[in-house]
Amino acid sequence: MQPPEVEYIRDQIANHVAEFTTLESGDLFDSGLIRFLPYDEAATIQERAIAVPFDIPIPKSQEEPYKVRFNDTDLTLWNRITPPSDNSWRAIPDGSAPLWYTNRFGSLIPAWNLFGNLFYLLTFGEEKESSQKDLHGRFAASFSPRAKYGLLEIPAFNEAVAALVGACAGLRDSGQPAFNIDGLIGPPVISLSHDCDILRGNDIWTQAVRLVRIFRPLVKMRLPGISNSWWIMRNAVAPRAFYFDNATGMIDLERCFGYRSTFYMLNGRSGRFGARSGLAVIPELLKEIPPEWDIGVHYNYDTFLNDERFSAQMEQLQEVTDSDIVVGRAHYLRFDPEKSFSFLQKHGISIDESSGYSDMIGYRNGIAGCFQVYDTVLKRPLEIWELPMTIMDTTLVRQYGPESITRFSQLLYHLSRVGGALSVSFHPGQFFNPEHKQMLGVYHRMLIECRQTGALAKTARSHVDSIA
C-alpha cells in the first residue's frame, strides 16, 4: 500500500498521459517501469526501472533552476537531488545539468525532486506557506518564490511527465531514457474561456470610471482625457457595442478556427466589483451561445466563501439556463486554496478555473492541463477538478507588450513538445474594443498561432469529461 500522496500523484500523471500523449496510461504504470519509493530504497534498485523518490522534502528557499535540452525544447528543473552515495550512479545527459541518474542495471532516478515539486505545486504549497495577500485577498504571482527565477511560465508537471514518457519509451526500446519523443506527444490543447463581467457598456460603474478618467489627469496638471467622453456617449447610444456584440463576434471567430470555448456568466449583486450588467441581458446572450460551447458561472465578488450569496447567485443563473452549471471561475480570481474547493464542491461546482494570476501570466500550479484537487488535511482527492488559468488577456499584453503574441506562441510551442493545455481567458470587452487599442486583434492573432501549431480546442468541461 502506497501513501495516499503517491496514489494521488500517480493518478494525475496517468490522467495527463492519457490526455496529452499517444501512450495509454497503462503503458507507463502497468508495466511496472515506474516505481515510487523512499529515497533509500530507490538508491538500491538494481533493475531496469524508474525509481521516483517520494520522501525528499522541499527546501525552505527556492533553489536556482537549470535547463536540460529535451525533444527540441528545454526542460527547466529545480530542487536538484544528489545521486546515491555509492559511485555506481552517473548523470544523464551530464553532471552539470542532469535529467536522470542511472546505474549499470539501467535503473533511473530523476535528478530533481520530481515527486516533491509536483505535489507541492498541485497542493498550493507556495501559497499555503505564505501570508502575503493583495488588496483583494489574492496570492499574487509576484509573491511566488518561483517568480524570482522566472519559473512561473514553466509547466513543471508537463515537463516531468514528458521526461517520464521519454524514459519509459527509451528503457523499453533501447535501455536508455529517450530525449526525443516525437510521435509520443499529442497536439497541444487550447482551453478558451470568456468572463462576461460587462455585457452592456452603459452601466453606471463603467460610465463613472470613464468620467473619472476624463478629469483624473488634471490632478497631475495634464490635459483631461477627453476621449473618454466619446466612449461614454457611444455606449449610452449603443450599450451592447463592443461588449455583448463582441461576445457573439468571439463565437463566430472561434467557429472560423473550429474552436469552442466556455462563457462564464457574472450575475448576482451589482456594484463596482459585482455584476455590472445585471441579469436581464444574460438570457439574451445564452440564446446566442451554441450548444457545443459551455456555460459556467463567474462567482461574484461578494460570494467568496459565503454560502448564502453563492447559493443565491447559482439559483438565479440556473433559472435562466437549461444546462447544468458545474463549471466556474471566480470574479477577480478571489480564491482560497484551503477553503474554496470544498466550498465550491458543496455548491455543485465540479470544475473550476480560478487558479491563475491577475498580475502575471503563469502556471500557478505548475501544470498546463487539469488536475483533481487534493485535500492535504483529509489526505484524499476531492470530487472537484481544477484547470488553472494560465493567460489573461490584459495581463499578457501588459507584461509582454508588442511581444505578446511571440510569447504566447513560445508557450504553445513548448506544449507541443511536452504535451499539455494552455488555458486562456479573454473578456468580451477586451476582444475588439477601440477603447482598449492595445488589445485590438490580439485574440485573433492568438487563434492564428493556435492553428499554426496544430492546437486543438477543449473546454474545461470537456477535459474532465474525457478523463472521466
Binding site: D245, G249, R255, I448
Partner: protein, 371 residues
C-alpha cells in the same frame, strides 16, 4: 526529367517544394484537404509533377469541382499549384505538365478548366481565355482595411511629403467612406423582414442541393454545385479558415445562405451568397439585403477591419448582389485578378460555353487560403 502524375509517397515532397518556393508553412493536412479529401473520389488525383533526380522541380494540379446548369451536374477543374523551380524556368515545364493534365481532363470528362491568376501570359499560350477580372465589393470598418485592399503597408519605410499627403488623403477618404457606410448599414438594420428565421449552421443543410437547382431555374447559367457534401468540405472542414454560415428559412424551407469569414489579414471575407425564392413570396432583393447585412454585422463583430466580396461578371444574380450591396454601404472597386478559362472537349459537347457571363462566381471558388 520525368513529367507524370504524382505517385504514392510524393505528397510530402510536393508540399515541401511549395513551402520552399513560397516560404510558406502549409501543413500536410492542408495539402491533403485541398487535393485528396475533396469530393472528387476518382483516382489518380490530377496532380502533375516534374521530377529531376528524385527532386520535385515543378507542380501543376487540378481541384475537380462539380458545377450545375440547366442540364444537371458536371465536373470542371480549378487550376491550382502552378509552380516551377526558378532554376528550371524556360524549359516549358508548365506547358508539358498541362499537356498531361489536358489529357486527364478529356479522359475524365472535365468540362472546363478555370482559375484566377495575375500571371496570364503562360495560360494564354496554352489556349486559355481571359473572360473577366475579379472586382471587389467592399465596406471599410476602419482605416486599417485600406492597406489590405491596396496590398501594401502604410507604415514603415521613409516617406516624403507627397507620400505623407497621400496617406493622409487615403485615411480621410476612408473615414468618410466608413461613415457613409455605417449610416447606410444602420438605416438598413431597421428594415428587417418579419417571418424569416435566420439560423447559423453547424453543418450544411441537406436542402442546399435543392436550392442550387432552384437557383439555376431562377437565375439561369451555371455555378458550383453546392450540395451538403461540397459545403462541408469547402466551408466547414477547411483547415485554412472555416466560414460562418447564416441561412434564411421560411417555415423550415431554406431560402438562401451567406458564408463569411475573417482572413489572417484581419479583413472579413464574403465567401458565398445564394438565394432562390420559391413560394415564400419574399423578393430576392430583400433576402440578399438581409444576408449581406448578416455578413457585415457578423464580420464587424468579429473585429474585422472591413469586408470584401467579389463582383465578377454580368450574371443577373451577381449584378443584383452588387446593386443591393451598394445600397447598404458597399463600394464597388475595380481591382482584382484575371479569370482564366479553358473549354475542354466535354464542355464543348455540353454546349455550356455560352460565355463567362453565364457563370455565377463568388469567393467560394477560391477553394481555401483566401477563404
Amino acid at each position: 526529367m520525368e513529367i507524370r502524375l504524382i505517385a504514392d509517397g510524393e505528397e510530402e515532397l510536393c508540399n515541401k517544394f511549395h513551402n520552399r518556393l513560397y516560404n510558406d508553412n502549409r501543413t500536410m493536412h492542408q495539402w491533403r484537404w485541398e487535393f485528396v479529401f475533396n469530393n472528387y473520389d476518382r483516382r489518380p488525383i490530377p496532380y502533375a509533377v516534374v521530377v529531376d533526380n528524385g527532386e520535385i522541380v515543378g507542380t501543376q494540379a487540378f481541384i475537380p469541382i462539380r458545377m450545375i446548369d440547366e442540364d444537371g451536374c458536371y465536373w470542371t477543374a480549378k487550376s491550382e499549384e502552378t509552380l516551377v523551380d526558378p532554376d528550371y524556368r524556360g524549359k516549358r515545364l508548365f506547358e508539358r505538365m498541362y499537356r498531361l493534365l489536358f489529357n486527364y481532363a478529356n479522359e475524365h470528362e472535365l468540362a472546363h478548366i478555370w482559375g484566377f491568376t495575375p500571371a496570364t501570359r503562360a495560360f494564354e499560350r496554352l489556349g486559355f481565355s481571359i473572360p473577366a477580372q475579379t472586382e471587389q465589393i467592399f465596406v471599410p470598418f476602419s482605416n486599417k482595411s485600406i492597406p489590405v485592399m491596396m496590398s501594401k503597408s502604410l507604415h514603415g519605410g521613409k516617406k516624403n511629403l507627397a507620400d505623407k499627403l497621400k496617406i493622409a488623403a487615403i485615411r480621410s477618404g476612408c473615414l468618410l467612406a466608413q461613415t457613409a457606410s455605417s449610416l447606410k448599414i444602420a438605416y438598413t438594420k431597421r428594415r428587417t423582414i418579419d417571418g424569416l428565421d435566420i439560423r447559423t449552421w453547424h453543418r450544411p443543410d441537406e436542402q442546399t442541393d435543392h436550392l442550387c437547382r432552384r437557383f439555376i431555374r431562377q437565375w439561369g447559367g451555371t455555378t458550383i454545385y453546392r450540395d451538403a457534401e461540397y459545403l462541408q468540405w469547402r466551408l466547414f472542414d477547411n483547415p485554412y479558415v472555416k466560414s460562418v454560415v447564416r441561412a434564411l428559412y421560411y417555415r423550415d424551407e431554406l431560402l438562401g445562405w451567406v458564408a463569411f469569414t475573417m482572413g489572417d489579414d484581419g479583413m472579413g471575407y464574403l465567401v458565398d451568397l445564394m438565394t432562390a425564392v420559391d413560394d415564400s413570396g419574399y423578393g430576392a432583393e430583400d433576402l440578399i439585403r438581409l444576408l449581406l447585412l448578416e455578413a457585415v454585422i457578423g464580420t464587424r463583430n468579429m473585429g474585422a477591419t472591413g469586408i470584401r466580396g467579389w463582383r465578377i461578371n454580368n450574371h443577373p444574380f451577381d449584378r443584383l448582389i452588387c446593386s443591393v450591396a451598394k445600397g447598404i454601404g458597399f463600394y464597388h472597386i475595380k481591382r482584382g485578378h484575371a479569370v482564366v478559362l479553358y473549354p475542354c472537349q466535354a464542355g464543348a459537347k455540353r454546349g455550356v460555353t455560352g460565355g463567362f457571363d453565364d457563370w455565377f462566381v463568388s469567393r467560394v471558388y477560391t477553394e481555401g487560403v483566401l477563404g
